[in-house]
């Protein structure tokens, strides 16, 4: 599909969800008695998703689908909130919302007279989108390229594409946004049992034909697989850990980002919210959450409460300086923090303050120099499943991939381990920040909601973390 045609389709989708949001909002406004409820906002989302999987063992599979729904928030005179979340045909969202409202409100108010949304409905025609066949060709070619690598015994290539159109109506103002996410992922296994993977965000499907994108992508997955062929048991105890670029972003995500989210702060404070305005890192570290970065995994133009996206500095020059907030949690910690960070996993969920693209600025240290100065340490280049206890300031991170550092050199690969510690202790133990930056895309889960996030960070040396091997 040509770029201008895609843009037109995108603006159509935004216009449609804006119209639907206005219709649901008007119907709910006319149905509720102000003595019982006042509508706060109405959010409408329409998403289509397609996932192509090329598995060298089980074959090729494509799944596709569409999902539409509306979420209306209301507030009782005493401040108690009510949410009506419905998922179904676009032209039934008004009726479904009113039906649910009647069950809660018990007023028996009838919905007759509400504007008919049927005129706003436009169905997508079934069938493949233009360019889909070419995409299949690109993916097949990539599969052949991987299969030609001598010791690769199996591989799974996944290309996923998500189109999300959202609109939020609040106090008569509405704002919409369209987010498109494309990602290519490769997991391969070598004859000696090494498993390696890599992922890359694509602006368009035809980047699959670009050797400068695909070559390094394939090389990274292969290198990781070969490194993982022989793994030693991780050492245990309080150890120095060098987090590889991007992987350090996961550390900042868990230790900094989550502890500065307003809903978590409101539930009893966190180890970092108590340190607003104070230095927590000995080095001039800067961490910013920035949804305005173009074509990143966590980017948006307006947040899921209809407010324009803005960068939010969280740590500046080593000092805690900001929090992530939304409309209902705009003023916390004794200062007014503007909330532009509301995100929902889907329209069924309530918005929560969430990270988008968490960016840690590069330092001045060369990774090679950092490693060469270490006698015994761990180099961690794969993390997953981070958890943090906000109030206690305790965290655990699951290391999936790493290497031992011995006498200033990277040595054998390590098996999985849990890294755990105290947030303030660990931030205070940052000893070096690399001049290298890389990013990674992942899914962040909180309160049962999964949202797409990106982390961008240099390599980081932390001088003491508790390590327990799995």
């Amino acid at each position: 599909m040509r770029a201008d045609a895609r843009a037109a389709a995108g603006s159509d989708a935004v216009a449609q969800v804006c119209r639907t949001a206005a219709l649901v909002a008007a119907a709910v406004d006319s149905a509720v008695e102000p003595a019982h409820w006042n509508r706060f906002d109405t959010f409408v989302e329409s998403r289509t998703r397609t996932v192509h999987t090329l598995d060298s063992v089980t074959g090729t599979e494509t799944i596709t689908g569409e999902e539409t729904g509306a979420h209306t928030r209301l507030i009782a005179p005493n401040g108690a909130p009510l949410s009506i979340a419905v998922t179904g045909p676009t032209h039934h969202l008004v009726d479904m919302s009113l039906n649910q409202l009647r069950q809660i409100d018990g007023s028996g108010h009838h919905a007759d007279g509400s504007p008919s949304p049927h005129s706003a409905v436009r169905r997508r025609q079934p069938g493949r989108e233009p360019g889909a066949d070419l995409l299949g060709v690109y993916l097949t070619e990539l599969g052949r390229a991987v299969d030609r690598v001598r010791d690769v015994v199996s591989r799974v290539i996944t290309f996923s594409e998500l189109h999300r159109a959202v609109a939020c109506e609040h106090s008569g103002d509405s704002a919409g946004d369209r987010q498109v996410r494309r990602r290519l992922h490769l997991e391969l296994r070598t004859a000696r049992g090494g498993v390696g993977e890599d992922g890359v965000v694509l602006a368009a499907g035809d980047e699959l034909a670009d050797p400068s994108v695909i070559g390094p992508f394939l090389d990274r997955a292969l290198r990781r697989a070969r490194m993982a062929e022989v793994r030693a048991a991780a050492p245990e105890g309080k150890l120095s850990v060098v987090f590889a670029e991007a992987t350090a972003g996961v550390v900042m995500h868990e230790l900094v980002g989550h502890l500065l989210e307003a809903d978590i702060i409101a539930s009893g404070g966190t180890a970092l919210s108590d340190r607003l305005g104070h230095r927590v890192c000995p080095l001039p570290v800067t961490v910013v959450d920035d949804p305005t970065l173009a074509e990143r995994w966590g980017s948006f133009v307006v947040d899921d409460e209809g407010r324009p996206a803005l960068p939010t500095p969280l740590i500046e020059d080593g000092q805690v300086c900001g929090i992530l907030s939304d409309r209902t949690r705009g003023s916390l910690a004794g200062a007014a923090y503007v909330g532009h960070n509301a995100r929902r996993a889907t329209h069924e969920h309530l918005p929560l303050p969430r990270m988008s693209n968490l960016v840690m600025s590069a330092g001045t240290d060369r990774l090679e120099d950092v490693i060469s100065d270490l006698d015994s340490a761990i180099y961690c280049d794969g993390l997953t499943r981070g958890q943090v206890d906000p109030a206690a300031g305790r965290f655990t991170l699951s290391m999936t991939s790493g290497r031992i550092i011995r006498s200033g050199h990277l040595a054998e690969s390590l098996g999985p381990a849990i890294l755990t510690g105290d947030v303030l202790d660990v931030l205070g133990a940052i000893r070096a920040v690399g001049d290298d930056v890389d990013d990674m895309q992942t899914v962040c889960g909180k309160a049962g909601q999964q949202v797409l996030v990106e982390m961008s960070a240099p390599s980081v040396l932390i001088s003491a973390i508790d390590v327990v091997r799995a």
């Binding site: 089980t58 074959g59 090729t60 599979e61 494509t62 799944i63 596709t64 689908g65 569409e66 999902e67 729904g69 005493n78 108690a80 909130p81 009510l82 949410s83 009506i84 979340a85 419905v86 998922t87 179904g88 045909p89 676009t90 032209h91 039934h92 009726d95 479904m96 039906n99 649910q100 409202l101 069950q103 809660i104 169905r123 997508r124 079934p126 069938g127 493949r128 245990e236 539930s267 069924e348 499943r385 981070g386 958890q387 109030a391 206690a392 305790r394 655990t396 699951s398 290391m399 098996g415 999985p416 381990a417 849990i418 755990t420 510690g421 889960g445 508790d466 327990v468 091997r469 799995a470």
Partner: protein, 436 residues
């Protein structure tokens, strides 16, 4: 509800959400438009939920009402299968999904044979009292705690172009009580207000947790922690290479078995039929030192062998997959005769673990080694102390199961990656707790 009127006949309206998803009545008509040599399968779910969240004050009482209609469509023809899903369950929406499934038909996959044509669904209904009655029974435990009450009712509809046409309704009520880092969950199709009160008592304020190490000492996993450690064992049996899984089963003492029961209505997963319309039944994963179901039997139904009736759809946006549903670690009756629970007086020193952070589990499928954050109370001189400690439990699943001495199942299930029966498990050796 259920029974099949045959191809193109009227579909019974899904009870909890009747009227909201009008178009699904056309599912059979849409399926009947299958082309020559094609099988169309439409699997729909219609879920109504109500949730109340409270932290003590009236103004904090938040209500949520949800209604969700969704259908997944598969098209089988010429040895291939295609999949699409939609929330537009109108006739037009379903026709779009059928066309999209045809357009994506690529994977080599024969259609599953037809399953049952009749479902007796009464046991999956929710008989819990109204949520308001839970609120009346519950006294706010304090501003630092939160209670979430949730009721869910789902109608499931499975229609095929060859005349298969079954449906049933399932419902449940759950309660979660959170106080600081601690959370206790109860799930049931017959939840009582007393269950909620028990949860509140379990999260009562306790001493601050201290880091602790315990090597080569017994660990008693209590209730939800017992369910979590059972889930770790099942994960190893399903995900590890066959030789590792066989070794784990061989080291499980012969008086214990591991079951998977999709037909158990007390469990949060499962149902009278699976996601492909086949009747469910109890399966044995491991018993008598033998692995009964090989790890290669789990995965997409078209790629694996073994008994049918265990295909599930965690959500309708993906094709069904064969995966455990309601698992349980159980003991032969003779193994626990006369003992209702673990006797702490027989344990000189050890840990009574009541919390495992399952979401932070680190697991190596190749070796079935695991590490998971935990907390609990110390056992000293045969008595359960009030001292709370935390650390990371560490070991291999093979060593863990070899050390199991006692198993005392409770009546409740815990929703984790699948349904897992809550259980008290005494492990004499095989796991270490390291300070972290």
């Amino acid at each position: 509800m259920s029974t099949s009127p045959g191809r193109g006949g009227a579909v019974p309206a899904p009870r909890p959400v009747a009227g909201a998803c009008q178009g699904i009545e056309d599912a059979a008509a849409v399926a009947s438009q299958a082309r020559a040599g094609e099988l169309i399968e439409i699997h729909g779910r219609f879920t109504a939920t109500t949730q109340i969240t409270a932290t003590g004050s009236e103004a904090s009482r938040a209500q949520t009402a949800g209604l969700r209609c969704m259908a997944a469509v598969r098209s089988f023809a010429n040895g291939g299968a295609g999949f699409a899903y939609t929330t537009d369950v109108s006739s037009a929406g379903l026709q779009w999904a059928v066309a999209a499934a045809r357009a994506t038909r690529s994977s080599a996959q024969p259609p599953p044979p037809p399953g049952t044509k009749h479902v007796d669904d009464a046991r999956w209904e929710d008989s819990s009292p109204a949520l308001a009655q839970f609120e009346e029974a519950w006294t706010a435990p304090g501003p630092d705690s939160e209670v979430v009450l949730r009721r869910s009712r789902t109608s499931v509809l499975h229609v095929r172009s060859d005349g298969v046409h079954v449906g049933y309704t399932e419902g449940s009520t759950s309660a979660v009580v959170r106080r600081g880092p601690r959370a206790e969950t109860a799930w049931s199709r017959d939840l009582r207000p007393s269950d909620l009160i028990e949860l509140v008592e379990r999260t009562a304020a306790t001493d601050r947790e201290q880091p602790w190490s315990l090597l080569r000492h017994p660990v008693v996993f209590l209730g939800g922690a017992g369910a979590a450690i059972t889930a770790v064992i099942v994960r190893a049996l399903v995900e590890s290479p066959a030789p590792v899984a066989v070794d784990i089963a061989a080291r499980l003492p012969s008086q214990f078995r591991i079951l998977d029961d999709g037909a158990d209505p007390d469990g949060p997963a499962g149902g009278p039929v699976d996601a492909e319309g086949w009747p469910t039944a109890q399966l044995v994963l491991a018993e008598g030192g033998e692995l009964v179901i090989d790890p290669t039997a789990w995965g997409p139904p078209s790629k694996v062998s073994g008994p049918r009736g265990r295909a599930w759809r965690p959500d309708l946006a993906r094709p069904p997959v064969r995966t455990p549903s309601n698992v349980a670690l159980v003991a032969d009756l003779t193994a626990t005769e006369g003992e209702a629970e673990v006797r702490f007086e027989d344990i000189g020193r050890g840990l009574a673990c009541d919390s495992l952070t399952f979401g932070a589990l680190s697991f190596d499928a190749e070796t079935a080694a695991f590490a998971v954050p935990c907390s609990g109370r110390l056992i000293r001189r045969g008595e359960l102390t009030t001292r709370r400690v935390r650390g990371v439990l560490q070991g291999t699943v093979a060593d863990l199961v070899a050390g199991i001495l006692e198993v005392h199942p409770r009546s409740t299930f815990v929703p984790l990656v699948c349904g897992v029966r809550a259980v008290d498990v005494l492990v004499a050796h095989g796991v270490a707790m390291r300070s972290g």
